[in-house]
């Protein structure tokens, strides 16, 4: 469905609104934040920002025409909707679930990061108490990357994940309940108990089962992007990987093919500075992993992975470029894992001083402080979000423990279609 672009309401003091000049032609790819037009009021001239990804399908108002607030002045949507256009670049359905920069958007980022953190902490103790089976790889400290990147994606976009996938799943919209049931090995889990912690996913939410072989997702995400290109679908694939993946052959093969065919894929390295226990300096000579991009002729960007808005902006630009046929970007989001590599890892290999600094720079407290300083929220609002998040997690834990186990012989199903 095309997204209508309406004339913003600039308040009661503004009486005259005029489109002084359109800046984008019909048929041009646009994304959230693209400046579509200049708007002249009786007081100032302002810029009209696009609120959706796609192509500009229609301009309903001419240059110089007067318009009242709230009136539809343009439509943005998939290129197929463009009358007579066949060769328009691939673009996405709207991802404007919440307007970027709006209070709702910022609070949603915060809430999602907190949901991931508290989910991981709860799961950690369930493991330590011996209640939960299996093993876990957790992402405390890395939440801003999953949340920032997924906020730049629409529901039709897809991600691949890693052995450390809980954050990606929550950020892409899987419910805490379906994840918790999966971690408990219940048939009510997102993979009916056949995936477990390292393979959570839900194709309906745009996440295939997480790929727990380091680097293994790089060719797969690239192939999903190839399918989008061949089917002329306006979708983007995002491949999450850890820093260790850049030393796998699959990384080289996959990124190279994404690059040579300019596929709609974004490669996101979550550089938490350790491949399991081995520090990055022992495995890579480069200062920034994004420099690897030069070897494939694509842009590489290093971003503070603990700054959710910086991650979001970086991802938004990369996703927009990928969607419009501009090819892949290699994003390196620098972060720190403030928990063990897997269960019961005391992180003795992380220097004390380094850990202390990392804890001070962790993304959630930092974002909360930023929101409070800007007057977006107060402590009471943050407390309310925290209570909601914790209640949601507790409900998931209770229902997961209460859910029946699978029948052992259910193991025989789902091997073949």
């Amino acid at each position: 469905m095309p997204t209508p672009i309406r004339m913003p309401d600039f308040g009661t003091n503004v009486t005259e609104l005029k489109i002084s000049r359109w800046l984008v032609e019909v048929g041009t790819p646009v994304h959230r934040g693209t400046i579509l037009a200049e708007i002249e009021t009786d007081k100032v001239t302002m810029e009209l920002e696009c609120i959706a990804d796609g192509v500009l399908l229609e301009r309903c108002i001419k240059d110089g025409e007067m318009v009242e607030a709230g009136r539809i002045i343009a439509h943005v949507g998939a290129p197929e909707a463009l009358a007579g256009a066949v060769a328009a670049p691939a673009v996405a359905p709207t991802t404007a679930r919440l307007r970027p920069g709006s209070v709702e958007f910022l609070l949603d980022l915060y809430r999602r990061m907190l949901l991931i953190r508290h989910f991981e902490e709860r799961v950690k103790y369930l493991f330590l108490e011996g209640v939960m089976p299996g093993t876990i790889h957790q992402c405390q400290g890395q939440e801003a990357i999953a949340v920032g990147v997924c906020a730049a994606l629409g529901p039709a976009d897809v991600i691949t994940s890693t052995h450390r996938p809980h954050g990606h799943a929550i950020a892409k919209g899987l419910t805490v309940k379906s994840l918790m049931h999966e971690l408990f090995g219940k048939p009510t889990g997102c993979c009916r108990g056949k995936g477990g912690s390292m393979h959570v996913g839900d194709p309906a939410k745009g996440m295939i089962p997480a790929i727990a072989i380091v680097g293994g997702g790089v060719p797969v995400a690239t192939g999903m992007a190839l399918a989008f290109r061949m089917k002329k679908e306006p979708r983007v694939a995002v491949c999450f990987m850890g820093d260790g993946a850049v030393n796998e052959g699959a990384f080289h093969e996959g990124v190279n093919m994404g690059a040579i065919w300019s596929l709609p894929v974004v490669y996101v390295i979550e550089n938490n500075r350790y491949s399991a226990s081995t520090p990055i300096a022992k495995t890579v000579r480069l200062k920034n992993l994004a420099e690897r991009a030069a070897g494939y002729g694509i842009p590489g960007v290093t971003v503070d992975g603990n700054d959710v808005l910086a991650v979001y902006e970086t991802a938004r630009a990369a996703v927009g470029q990928a969607r419009c046929g501009g090819g892949p970007t290699l994003i390196e989001a620098v972060t720190y894992r403030i928990t063990g590599h897997s269960r019961r890892d005391p992180c003795n290999y992380q220097p004390e001083e380094e850990r202390k600094k990392a804890l001070a720079a962790e993304p959630i407290g930092r974002f909360a402080a930023h929101l409070m300083a800007d007057g977006v929220v107060d402590q009471a609002e943050l407390d309310r979000i925290r209570a909601e998040v914790d209640a949601e997690i507790e409900r998931a834990v209770e229902s997961a423990i209460a859910a029946p186990d699978p029948r052992p012989e259910d193991a025989l199903e789902d091997v073949y279609a």
Binding site: R192, G201, P203, V220, L226, H252, M257, A417
Partner: protein, 339 residues
Amino acid sequence: MPKLTIAEALRAALREEMARDERVFCIGEDIGIPGGWGGAFTVTLGLEKDFRERMIDTPISENGFIGMALGAALMGLRPVADVQYGDFLLCAMDQVVNQIAKMRYMSGGNLCVPLVLRAPVGATGRGAQHGSNLEAMFLNVPGLKLVCPATAYDAKGLLKAAIRDDNPVLMFEHKLLYGAKGARAESGSVDASSEIPAEDYVVPIGKGIVRREGKDVTVVATLLMMHRALAAAEQLAAKGISAEVIDPRSLVPFDWELVGASVRKTSRLVVVTEGPKTGSVASEIVATAAETLIDYLDAPVVRVTSPDIPDPFAPPMEEFYRPSVNRIADAATACVRVR
């Protein structure tokens, strides 16, 4: 009806399936380069003229493009990926074994993986890294279907069935069966061409076929060995031994009904496959026969395979490596003589 070689029959199958279903595409090395070879064995020759957008020529990146085929399959396309030589599948073992074969299972049945992998196998004067028979390795990978056509009719019908199947299907093609004339005339190549019907047909995956009826001994043989088993059956007939030759055509799923019925009739089983003996396809077939058909067997089950060595280069050594017509006939004769 036109007579086609296996290479031509596979090409016809790809052409017809791509015309029938726009989701079908080919991906691999040197498959659609104008002026090129149509893959290592001419199977895709000329398809780029009609399907330019659906013949994806890749860099030399087997793990990469086979992983991409998986990604494309998960997003609704139906890729046919081929490696120039089956040996190169080993570069892509993570994608084939960890990802492709397990993706549906790990998803709890939420996904299906409709893709085809084509892999030329068989010792053919190229030494140890371009001639392996890898079929046995993939028997141990649940989630894959395995097929091994020995005739052009089956090659076309099985490839069409594989493309239409919602599971990953790995097709083994023997390099000495692609064609026995022209560019494909290699030393030792065998004419496996067939009359190909004009109308659309598939050969169902999991269904074997009796190539020659007999009553004294059942000989199960795949790919090139199937043709040698037929030649051996001729020799045996001259000695008064009636051999029933079965071509299973698929390894997974395997047509136990057909083999079981034959063994119940003949009471003797010889299995012939090319490649090292230990852990071979033949091993799996005789093990299951010993487990389930023991009451019907009048002689120990027999495997005729290559010795446990890499495939050697020198022609006399290579011929020693591949089971010969005489070895098959001798093994069947010995089996029949057990009282």
